[in-house]
Symmetry: C2
Subunit: 639 residues, 2 copies
């Protein structure tokens, strides 16, 4: 071994304790990895910064068991967005419309945005990390790193230093992750360039404060255009309100990215914009002015050892509140892939999909943000202009302007449910290496469980305790694939279920090949991972709960997951005519069922028909065999 004996070794070194670093750290700490986590700041965020948790992110936080702690801070909730525009007679602003922030066409458990300052969110993660004996080393920074390969298992050397420069250490790690934010030492050292999708940069002022006002929508999210400028209002916890004001834009003739404004100037501008309503400040909690352009890193990793995520990889306007949410999903995406490689389940090549999946999302985000921000920044026509422009003012006023149209179209995106990963090794498609006639697809078979998309929420009854539960939340974010066996009618599929169980039990099945080494000593009360660390099986019957006898109707290994057996007997307003709503929401036949494989992050991997014989498991062996380490489905199981 080339390195000195004194260098400590870690599975991962994480730089930066903002949302992306913390979520990654929290996952990996729970799954038993050894982590060095540093942050330049002496303490977590005190005030301000990001504050919007989208519906999809709230699902994720709940899946991590952190939602209750987040909600204990009594955040504001945004259900609707209001649009205000100049009155045509020049006498100030009026409301021209409102729109749900997560309209009912999106099937969301929590159809609202949760507003809470970043520091409170960070503290929830930090408390969880502390339970797993991870503390953030502060204020420390990274001063050098190299994937020198001198240690095969720990190929990355990382040098760290206290920000005062008096203390430093050099460690070795399997991975280095930069969640440093927009100014990233790691990105710079790697020579990764930022591509500016939209050449226009802006200077934004953002102010959190407690206000008094007679503006009626002060507790709603509002975009306000007036003859005196534009502003965005976002309600916050503890009677606070956040105002975003655009101070300068690179299209201005006197553009200066260092242009600034005092709090008094912003307050004065806000007063003019809100007229005829009045507004006064009790206090200002936080104020910041920052220039920002749209940028996206050309690469998220060069070697699948040193990774980047969050603001380090993508910057954009603050308008749609997407920064923190995108960061969360970056981290979640990387966490389980590292886990699957390091625990010997999956081939190292899967790590390439981190960049391909998440960069695509960032590109979509920037495209979205660009049009959204342009519309926001654009001054609305003034009263006189409007009067000139149209004789029939009333009709014109009630037509939706471009901004509102854009907003409606983008709800799916802003809610977080618009994320769709392209077909790849995880997201089955006709071109996937696994080819088996039993794979179902949205295009051909009208299944509603679309690969690369989040699994639809469904309410079911848990058989063992009759609790009414949310199926999509039943398996926690534990790094395992979720195998949802939709049984259909038990009388119809009895043999298919038996064959499925038999297939799982074969030594070379995807399931049995990855049996836990400690399977014989596993706790009787283990609910999720009794046999394998990589699979949790949920079985859903199209039957009434009292008619289901787990141990009579399910063979092993399915019966072992007795806490994950469900009755699909809860009526759902979205599929009012379905007898088995969860089956219907997946687009599966209510009698014959089917198998939905969901990735550890909640996105659908593949959907397979449930049939007599070995076919169903054969198809799954092909699917998992395309990226896992062991050879599956033959009699030679072990590498």
């Amino acid at each position: 071994m080339a390195t000195g004996p004194k260098q400590a070794k870690y599975d991962i070194v994480i730089i930066g304790a903002g949302p992306v670093g913390l979520l990654l750290s929290t996952c990996l700490a729970r799954w038993g990895y050894k982590i060095k986590h540093i942050d330049m700041r002496p303490e977590p965020t005190v005030t301000g910064r990001a504050d919007g948790i989208q519906p999809r992110s709230l699902d994720l936080l709940r899946n991590m068991g952190l939602k209750r702690a987040i909600m204990a801070n009594t955040p504001a909730k945004v259900y609707e967005v209001a649009f205000w525009d100049p009155k045509q007679n020049g006498s100030g602003i009026h409301r021209t419309g409102t729109w749900p922030s997560c309209p009912s066409f999106i099937d969301a458990r929590y159809p609202f945005t949760t507003l809470l300052h970043q520091g409170l969110i960070e503290r929830v993660f930090i408390a969880d990390l502390n339970k797993n004996n991870v503390t953030i080393q502060r204020p420390w920074r990274v001063i050098g790193f190299e994937n020198d390969g001198k240690d095969k298992d720990y190929p990355v050397q990382v040098s760290l230093s206290h920000v005062d420069g008096h203390e430093s250490e050099t460690v070795r790690a399997k991975y280095l992750f930069s969640g440093e934010g927009a100014r990233s030492f790691v990105r710079e050292q790697l020579g990764v360039k930022i591509t500016h999708k939209d050449p226009i940069a802006n200077v934004w002022g953002v102010m959190d404060g407690v206000v008094r006002t007679n503006f009626p929508d002060i507790k709603m999210k509002c975009t306000i255009h007036s003859d005196a400028g534009s502003i965005m209002v976002i309600p916050r916890e503890a009677n606070m309100v956040r105002l975003y004001i655009q101070i300068a834009t690179s299209t201005d003739s006197d553009w200066d990215p260092r242009k600034t404004a005092t709090t008094e100037e912003v307050q004065a501008a806000a007063k003019k914009i809100l007229a005829p309503y009045w507004i006064e400040w009790d206090r200002i909690e936080w104020y910041s002015v920052y220039p920002i352009g749209q940028g996206i890193a050309d690469r998220y990793t060069l070697d699948e050892r040193v990774f980047m995520g969050g603001d380090c990889c993508h910057t954009h306007s603050p308008k749609a509140g997407q920064g923190m949410n995108t960061a969360f999903l970056d981290a979640q995406n990387l966490a389980w892939k590292i886990h699957h490689v390091e625990s010997g389940f999956a081939d190292r090549s899967i790590l390439k999909s981190y960049e391909s999946e998440r960069k695509l999302i960032a590109e979509k985000l920037l495209n979205f943000d660009s049009s959204y921000a342009k519309l926001f920044s654009a001054r609305q026509p003034s009263a006189g202009e409007v009067q000139d422009a149209t004789k029939n003012a009333d009709k014109e006023e009630h037509q939706e302007n471009e901004f509102v149209k854009m907003f409606k179209a983008s709800c799916e995106f802003t809610s977080g449910y618009g994320v769709a990963y392209d077909p790849n090794i995880f997201n089955w498609s006709e071109s996937h290496p696994a080819q088996h006639p039993l794979f179902l697809s949205a295009a051909k078979n009208r299944t509603k469980a679309r690969t690369g998309r989040i699994m639809a929420p469904a309410t079911v009854t848990r058989v063992c305790d009759a609790n009414v539960v949310h199926l999509e939340q039943e398996v926690p974010l534990n790094g395992s694939y979720r195998i949802y066996l939709f049984v259909g009618k038990p009388t119809v599929t009895k043999n298919a279920v038996a064959d499925f169980a038999y297939g799982l039990g074969k030594k070379t099945s995807f399931y049995s090949a990855y049996t836990r080494p400690d399977v014989d000593t596993i706790d009787y009360h283990e609910r999720h991972l009794p046999h394998s660390k990589f699979f949790t099986i949920c079985t859903i019957f199209n039957a009434h709960r009292p008619d289901i006898e787990i141990h009579e109707m399910l063979p092993e290994p399915l019966a072992r997951y007795h806490d994950h057996v469900y009755a699909d007997d809860v009526w759902d307003q979205r599929v009012p005519n379905a007898k088995a709503a969860a089956h219907a929401k997946m687009g599966l036949p209510e009698d014959e069922g089917g198998v939905v494989v969901v990735r550890p992050d909640g996105y659908v991997g593949c959907v397979v028909k449930l049939v007599h014989g070995s076919g169903t498991v054969d198809a799954l062996n092909e699917y998992f065999g395309s990226f896992c380490v062991k050879k599956l489905g033959s009699d030679v199981a072990q590498l």
Copy 2:
């Protein structure tokens, strides 16, 4: 003043920090009262004791802002109860039926029982008390007390001592409350007798533990009758299970109230009862044997200065899990009445209603418990007996036996929603002193808001921030009456609303007569009590949220409650044809609305028609005037 200068003075001395004492203490501490709270035990309950929170109690805990902290302990939730009986062939037990623990005919937000050990519940209250600078003085006991009237304002002298006897103190108080439990020094000193409703006493064994078993309903609440005896199974947090076993009953020929059983004996009995299923214990968390009879205190107070509540006033079998829940409601009932007397709002005579309301409930509880427990204790006919009894066994088996019938009938009671207070000064009826033609009653006017009953839950949209909220939870337990102004259609009731607001504004109205002395300096952000500490006004429009402009449609003082204005625009499965579901659930006309007055504890006080002119406020002046201190509705407002 007759008392020495060294005696500390308290608004109330509370003895006992179980559920009843803690809830009372928590309310009064929040409302600013000075409290001395002692408990004999050196620390809160460590394990065992009461553990069932009924649906109604969970509403209450949520209304106090404590539900999230309770739920953070991940309690078990009971949605269904299973009944097991002997098989006819003598080969053990089989399930004969299940029933929802809170069936859908009960309109409950949380249709389940929450199971959590008493110590965790106590700690949630204690943490809240600490925030208000109340700590429980432990281990201390009461050693003497007297309502000697030597101090007009603090008429009760109370002597307290450390349990080791080396320390003691004597204090003066306005009130003394005993939440001491079944063995009460205070009750004994007062000479209050216990009436035993049912002469039968029982010895119960109760055991909490972690088990392994193939009994399929181990995570459900079960009542199991077998040829080997009877047992009750209750799931608990952290994989625990509680077993209740009846060890002896006073109808036994060898009855001995000191009869006991070892843990091994109880385990052996459980194994026999559960056969053919097996059960093994990983560990036993808690085990207790206690004799208990049904008893009810003849009085809850003699002088409306020294009060008692909880187990001190009523004891019964543990079967229906009613002890803690009844205790909570005792405390809640007393808390706001003391508050209204001590803050000068209501006449001291209202304190008499504590005993009359809560003793009635305890009597109903004991009647219920008696029949319920008898059925539980009764050995079911054995296989042979059943075979003798009937030729047509199958049919017989599927008919509901007495136990199941009783269970169904009592669901409303066990959920906590069956509590109905009789007509009295708070619960309007035809015989109420306030007589005005605008009072509505369930009998005459088919209003569904029945006086003396909890207000029905209703989901509405809050106008100011578009949040979808639970109307019945919008006003926290803050000691105020909740005035729900159901506006109906704003075009229909515009004048009536204006007249209502005008009436409230009159100096002698119930509302204005109790204006806060600090009304001019009240915080701009005060949501609930901006004008009066005794009233929070909620206004509910039969209209879509975006069509409601608070400050254009509501005059003062109604508009000041801008956080309590709602749109009745959320569809409700229970009233599927209603356009305004909340109006419909109250039984009010959807166009004309009405006013529902809800007591501080959530029970309906009176319902009044909403009309043009002064009538609506006149009726309310009569209602409140019947028990409040000031003369209302005339030009001479002050006493």
